[in-house]
């Protein structure tokens, strides 16, 4: 059972969190100009990094999405910050 740091609530058990997406993926738009391949890549292709990864998670208990930096191998969490423009 891992523990993650919500930037708003503090250290909590992993059951309170949900993975949302890898950080830095921007949604290709407008739909009319996006190719099938670009859209498929957005939907399905992830880096799934081994080691340091930056991800968006949501703390279900407070409903806030935030950025987490963690090592997917050692499970060490090295950073947790609010989304850009969100004060914690």
């Amino acid at each position: 059972m891992q523990r993650f740091q919500c930037p708003f609530c503090g250290l909590r058990d992993e059951t309170e969190f949900h993975f949302a997406t890898e950080a830095g993926k921007s949604r290709p738009e407008p739909a009319e100009e996006v190719t099938d391949a670009e859209w498929a890549a957005y939907l399905h292709l992830n880096d799934a990094l081994k080691g340091q990864a930056r991800e968006v998670w949501v703390h279900l208990t407070c409903g806030e999405y935030f950025l987490m930096t963690r090592d997917t191998l050692t499970r060490e969490v090295s950073g947790s910050e609010a989304l850009p423009g969100r004060a914690s």
Partner: protein, 946 residues
């Protein structure tokens, strides 16, 4: 019949005999015995039959490593299967029975299976089950293989507490190393948790004894315990630390007498693993015969329980640590011969015959040991004790991610420092012997001053010993899973040389003892057979649990109604009083039908009344997510397939939320109460998911300061009044209803409290959803209930609502849709063509998959051959030509409004097939049906206005 009870040795309570049965035979032990010691002392040898060959097996060890002595234990008429005899305390009146034996261990009818051993090699099951006809083998094999029996009456109460705890320093194992660490830490003022499986701390000191810092070991143990407690720490006995998990979480199982067991979840700041080591067996022909035991275990059973392993004992060893064992057994009165593989060793203890440079090559006997063959000479013996060295207990270190290194000097795989956030001390790190254990434990806890010092610590020379493939006869590597050295050889010849393959191919180490006594030998044998070193051969992965833990302990109180607690309606007591039968719908406990009698008849009657006059149902679980602020319209436009910004205040609109894959995630109505205030009526089972998706868009795409979300589902009670006389009922209840069209919504005040009325219909009839704050629900309910009689209405349950909505072709997402359904499959294609702006899932609707011909579309299915509804889930097939699935029935009911069966289905090109005949395949039969529009009842929608 060779084990016996020493008249004085041991610490059992001789004043308190405990009667018990083993396979029907009455025996007696004493309070303080384990099942193993009581059976050993009683002279019972054959305790079970082996897993595969049904060979007789007896006691081997003294703890969780025990591969053979696994019993079904009946107490107070309830049987607990697969109990390790070595770790369970004896109680008066227990009935023990052997496992994998019929009728019992002594007279097992499958014992002849052993003669067939050459036809049952490693990989037998894999080879057999690939051939046609394996099904004929399977029931027989299932009957012959396996462990204990499940007792249906064994349903322990859900009373094991789960306790979350934090500690500064967790020490696993209260042997010499753990005790030294605990003392050092306590002296530095740290709150230490000292955890051990045994009934009391001490570890190997309990049977090996010793003097520490000039005093008997018991004084040392008592002093350490006192210091730990004084420093605010805790000592947990009979507690197995069975799992190391992420971020310093450890799981422990505490057994308590007279109280439910405890499931501990401990977050530890620092951890010291001092779990000791397990004695390895030796490998010789018939090394699985009852009477062959671990030498260390024999000492354990003698010193703690006065249970002596035999009368004529051969002890085969290559290490100094076996000499005190021989001495103690000889002193107890057994005739002991010690054979040492080494030419030199310690002096012969008093009364022990020592044979040096001698090798044990076989044991002989039918059902138990009769003699030991040493260098070709048969020595009469009833017991063979063996010591093949020691394997450090590194399981928890590896569970925590730690790596191992091969150490030639220690002849063991030892923890590689720094690969897991755990310090390891004593025998668990390969440092055998009392002084090493004390010194390492002391150092691991950063001890100041001298470490505890033992007196006369025996030397600890060990000669590495390995299985020898050149030796004739069957040498067992894994006793619990019946794997021999030949099986390892076969695996090597057939190419399964990786240890992970070896394990799966031969099942070596896969039994409930997790290969404690076998993994090393299997690994060493494979290394030798493939001419590789042990580190080159590798080790298998260690996973929790360390020992089998009852599921009842892990589940704790989260069982039955508490396993996944249901959401309850505020009006549940009133519904119950009105005769409601409750059932779970999407996580909510809701009335299914009202009244007594056949449920489907009741549901049809309720639906008929709702069609003819009026029905009332509790729709409170319907989602109510408030979307508030100037940014609300753009957020909802993005999150919905149907634009909501064009909705006027006071109006409602039906729409869909899509996943980015374009698949329908939820459907429902959005109400606009004001320019900047909406309510999203998510499906009752999707509220949390819809809220999460809205939050995602709000925080990641829009300006979150311009719009907020608030889930008020549980704050409001919603009662829906539906039917041609719905308005009459509300008038009778004196509820003021503002004039509003279909899909209108108004906020009113009723008796001084807020009320919301929405003309939204899930039944196709005139319907009013009336919502009040939950605390005012009694008043609303009572007024509607009083008025009900006057207009001939009734309460209707969810089953009736399901019929009513299916008659209209109104879908339930997840029932009438699946993971491929897009909105245009449901007849909602216009928005896809029209909308120019971005919305969730949009691009996916235009992919080749979204645009292809032959998508499954929602249709109705009509039958003309009788009253029986179609089977939900049945496949739709062509009536002519090759049979293939064109789709399936999603909902099926008998319609009271139409007086015939109705169904909804997802069907390839369904809309183009309307009017066509089609087959409905169910249980081998094809029933003819006709494809119809999804809406079977009142397709013009006249009834929406009453």
């Amino acid at each position: 019949m060779s084990g016996w009870r020493h008249p004085t040795a041991g610490r059992v309570n001789r004043e308190r005999p405990a009667g018990f049965h083993f396979d029907g035979i009455a025996l007696t032990g004493f309070e303080g015995d384990t099942l193993a010691s009581a059976l050993l002392a009683s002279g019972t040898r054959v305790l079970g039959r082996s897993f595969k060959y049904h060979r007789p097996r007896g006691l081997w060890g003294m703890g969780g490593e025990e591969p053979n002595a696994i019993l079904d234990v009946t107490r107070d008429g309830v049987t607990m299967p697969n109990v390790r005899a070595t770790t369970e305390l004896l109680e008066d009146g227990m009935a023990l029975s052997s496992v994998n034996a019929a009728p019992d261990a002594a007279h097992d009818r499958y014992r002849l299976l052993d003669r067939l051993q050459r036809f049952l090699p490693a990989g037998f099951y894999y080879k057999t089950f690939m051939r046609p006809g394996w099904m004929t083998w399977e029931p027989m094999i299932r009957r012959m293989a396996g462990l204990g029996r499940i007792d249906p009456a064994n349903c322990p109460p859900a009373d094991c507490p789960r306790i979350n705890a934090q500690c500064d320093l967790l020490i696993i194992g209260a042997g010499p190393a753990g005790l030294a660490a605990a003392r050092a830490a306590a002296r530095k003022g740290r709150a230490v948790w000292l955890v051990d499986e045994a009934p009391e701390p001490g570890g190997s000191l309990r049977w090996r004894g010793g003097f520490i810092d000039g005093a008997d070991w018991r004084e040392f143990v008592d002093a350490v315990q006192a210091e730990v407690l004084a420093a605010g720490g805790r000592v947990l006995a009979r507690t197995t630390l069975w799992g190391a998990f992420d971020h310093g979480l450890f799981a422990a199982w505490e057994r308590r007498t007279g109280l439910p067991d405890v499931h501990w979840r401990i977050r530890a700041g620092e951890v010291i693993l001092a779990a000791g080591a397990i004695e390895r067996p030796l490998w010789f022909a018939n090394n699985d015969l009852p009477g062959v035991m671990s030498a260390e275990a024999a000492l354990h059973h003698l010193v703690l329980y006065g249970a002596v392993a035999g009368r004529r004992i051969v002890l085969a060893t290559g290490g100094d640590a076996s000499y005190p064992v021989a001495a103690a057994l000889a002193e107890a009165g057994a005739e002991v011969t010690l054979t040492d593989i080494r030419p030199e060793g310690p002096d012969a203890p008093e009364g022990v015959r020592v044979v040096r440079a001698a090798r044990l090559t076989a044991a002989r006997g039918g059902r138990e040991v009769r003699c030991a063959v040493i260098d070709g000479e048969a020595w009469e013996a009833d017991t063979v004790l063996t010591s093949g060295g020691y394997t450090p207990s590194v399981h928890l270190y590896c569970q925590a991610g730690g790596k191992l290194d091969w150490d030639d000097v220690r002849d063991a795989l030892v923890p590689r420092r720094g690969t897991a956030p755990i310090m390891v001390a004593g025998a668990a790190s390969g440092s055998f012997g009392l002084s090493a254990a004390l010194a390492e434990g002391h150092a691991a806890a950063g001890g100041e001053g001298p470490a505890p010092r033992p007196e006369g610590d025996a030397p600890w020379g060990v000669t590495p010993m390995r299985p020898d493939p050149a030796l004739p006869g069957r040498q067992w590597i894994d006793l619990q899973n019946d794997v021999t050295l030949k099986d390892v050889g076969l695996a090597a010849r057939e190419g399964f040389t990786s240890v992970e393959h070896l394990k799966r191919y031969t099942t070596l180490g896969m039994a409930t003892d997790q290969g404690r006594t076998s993994n090393f030998a299997g690994l060493a044998a494979m290394a030798a057979l493939t001419a590789r070193s042990i580190p080159e051969t590798g080790t298998t992965t260690y996973r929790p649990p360390f020992t089998p833990v009852p599921l009842a302990v892990i589940a704790g109180r989260r069982r039955g109604a508490l396993f996944n607690p249901l959401k309850r309606l505020p009006l549940e007591p009133e519904h119950r009083a009105a005769g409601a039968r409750f059932r779970e719908y999407g996580g909510w406990l809701r009335p299914a039908v009202y009244g007594t009698g056949d449920e489907s008849t009741l549901a049809v009657d309720e639906a008929r009344t709702a069609r003819q006059s009026v029905g009332i149902f509790d729709a409170s679980p319907l989602g109510k997510i408030e979307v508030i602020g100037p940014g609300a319209p753009e957020l909802l436009d993005f999150a919905n397939y149907v634009r909501m910004s064009t909705l006027r205040p006071g109006r409602a609109r039906y729409g869909f939320m899509l996943a980015e894959s374009g698949v329908v995630y939820d459907d429902g109505v959005v109400l606009r109460l004001a320019e900047d205030r909406f309510i999203v009526s998510a499906s009752s089972s999707h509220v949390a998911g819809v809220l999460l998706r809205l939050e995602d868009a709000r925080q990641d795409r829009f300006d979150p300061s311009r719009v907020v979300l608030h889930d008020v589902t549980a704050h409001w009670v919603t009662l829906t009044v539906t039917g041609p006389r719905a308005r009459d009922l509300l008038d009778e209840a004196e509820i003021a209803v503002p004039e509003m069209p279909h899909m209108g919504v108004a906020e009113t005040t009723e008796a001084g409290h807020p009320m919301r009325i929405a003309r939204v219909s899930f039944t196709g009839d005139l319907s009013y959803e009336v919502s009040v704050p939950a605390r005012h629900s009694d008043d609303l309910r009572n007024r509607l209930d009083r008025a009900r009689g006057a207009v001939g209405g009734r309460w209707i349950g969810l089953e009736a609502v399901m019929i009513l909505r299916a008659e209209k072709g109104y879908i339930l997402v997840g029932k009438d849709t699946d993971g491929l359904t897009m909105p245009h499959d449901l007849g909602w294609g216009a928005q896809r063509e029209r909308r120019r702006d971005e919305y969730l899932g949009k691009r996916s609707l235009f992919t080749p998959e979204g645009c292809r011909e032959g998508r499954r579309q929602l249709v109705g299915i009509a039958v003309s051959d009788g009253d029986a509804p179609l089977a939900a889930g049945a496949h739709l097939v062509p009536l002519d030509g090759p049979r293939r699935s064109l789709g399936f029935v999603t909902s099926s009911y008998r319609s009271p409004g139409l007086d015939r069966p109705i169904a909804l289905a997802l069907l390839e090109d369904g809309r183009a097939r309307i009017g066509d005949r089609i087959g409905c395949f169910h249980m081998g039969e094809v029933r003819a049906a006709v494809v119809a529009p999804a809406c079977a009842f009142d397709p013009e929608g006249h009834r929406l206005d009453g």
